[in-house]
Amino acid sequence: MRDVKVSLVGYGIVGHGVVDALSRKKAMLRDMGLNLRLVSVTDHTGTVLAEDGVDASKILGERTLENVATSGMKGKEAISAIDSELVIEVTPTNIVHGQPGLGHMEAALSSGKHVVTSNKGPLVVSYSHLKKLAEDNGVMLKFEATVGGTMPLISLVERTLVGNCISGIQGIFNGTCNYILTRMTEEGIPYTHALSEAQDLGIAEADPSYDVEGVDTAGKVVILANSLFNMDVKYSDVDVTGITGVTPEALALAQRKGYAIKLIGDVPALTVRPTLVPLGSPIAVSGTLNSAAIYTDLSGTITVTGLGAGSIETASAILTDVISIYRTKKIDAIF
């Protein structure tokens, strides 16, 4: 049995999903030979510490750790002080300076801890620096959940499609935009109506600009470009147009001519823009779904689709990354 002490930093939507998923999968993981012990959970209010593993039932009902924290330790301090070998970093994304996640990841990697994250910010801002830090310290940095949520993409390319050359990836990487465009097409309603509907359903944020202006999708394009295409690009290298200018008339016109309008991110073109996608194309998915077409030399085009967000869904991508760190050493290595 491999015993692994895990620290969780960030206890919001995804953080709750991670606690839930680790608890639900405990037995299955043990059967695989992996005993994941969540020894700490930290948010901006403090930390819950438990050497034998945090009791999920005691904290899942709490929105923050304010009433259950057993220590006042926060952020980098907690990461360095707590004895764990893997940090799950799920604090809010900031693609301008990457903080607080960037500091958290630097602290974890430089003290020899693996990092698994859903936080795009630090990867958009400092991918090569973080990657080098991980290599120098002999640990791994995994971030499947940053692009397409639960939809497998990075590991699919890096592992399953290994041996192929990938010439490009195009896809829908933002479920909020896809939902809005889908509703505008279905109901013929203007952008503002579809947006408020999405906000009422919790699909869009109160300040939706990050999603609808294409910023989020562009961040994902940067991550894919740097991690899968070895490009050294920044957010400003992406040509970004959001969906706010798309009208129901344009959607109807496009549909009459056999097209859907989708916000498509394109690597290595480094573009994010509303794009005509033929109706019936496997990437023209509806609702909050994400999709990606991967163009390969040997396997042709591989298309994937799945939920791009959600608490337990995003946590599932994180769990896959965590398991893969230990499987890499045990099962998949070339001897």
Binding site: S167, Q170, G245, E249, A250, A254, K257, P274, I283, Y295
Partner: protein, 212 residues
């Protein structure tokens, strides 16, 4: 109101013919107001000369087509002349398609009538691309937008549908552009992108699926 007609399929040989002076820009702007309350306005910008009248069906609803019989005995269904009568305006240039072996005869006949043939005998416009424009498509001079493509010599707007909501509301246009090759399609798209920036139009291009 909706206008449309079918054109001949396949890869016909084309001839570009010039006559008259008025730009399509004026023509477009001149009549758009009469459609302000119509949701869609389909407009195909090209005329075709058919070697035999059979395959070219012109269907314009209640609007009558004007078949013209030339000395060579060809039936010419020319929507351009229709625009002439319907919109009381003139056409400066149009492209016709016909069987290769008829070209020389037609060229001669046209020349005799004082019409100059700009280009003949090429297998042109074999690639096509769909684009949607959103914004003040009409107010920003749609005719000019189209002319920027049409005057390239390698690409032309073959199909146009408009969707208008109300005054000061953004309108949308669907354009089908044909060009002489893939590279020319890309050049036409980059012209449209530039025009889009200049006129603050959202240019929605089709996804370039890499077929491997």
């Amino acid at each position: 109101m909706s206008l449309s007609w079918r054109t001949r399929p396949g890869r016909p040989t084309t001839v570009a013919v010039t006559s008259g002076i008025t730009s399509r820009a004026r023509r477009m702007n001149a009549h758009t107001s009469s459609y302000a309350d119509s949701p869609y306005f389909d407009w195909h910008s090209r005329a075709y000369v058919a070697a035999s009248g059979a395959s070219d069906r012109v269907n314009l609803g209640s609007i009558q087509t004007l078949p013209i019989t030339t000395a060579a005995g060809l039936c010419i269904a020319i929507p351009a002349s229709l625009f002439h009568s319907y919109f009381t305006d003139q056409v400066d240039r149009f492209v016709v398609e016909m069987d290769r072996n008829k070209i020389d005869t037609v060229k001669e006949e046209l020349k005799k009538s004082g019409i100059s043939v700009v280009r003949a005998g090429e297998d042109r416009l074999i690639e096509s691309v769909s684009v949607v424009l959103v914004g003040h498509v009409l107010d920003s001079d749609l005719g000019d937008t189209i002319d920027r493509i049409d005057t390239t010599g390698y690409a032309e707007v073959m199909d146009l549908s408009l969707s208008m909501t109300g005054i000061n509301e953004p309108s949308s246009a669907y354009l089908k552009i044909r060009a002489t090759g893939k590279a020319e399609i890309q050049k036409a798209l980059s012209i449209l992108r530039e025009v889009g920036k200049e006129k603050q139009l959202l240019v929605i291009e089709p996804i370039e699926m890499e077929a491997i």
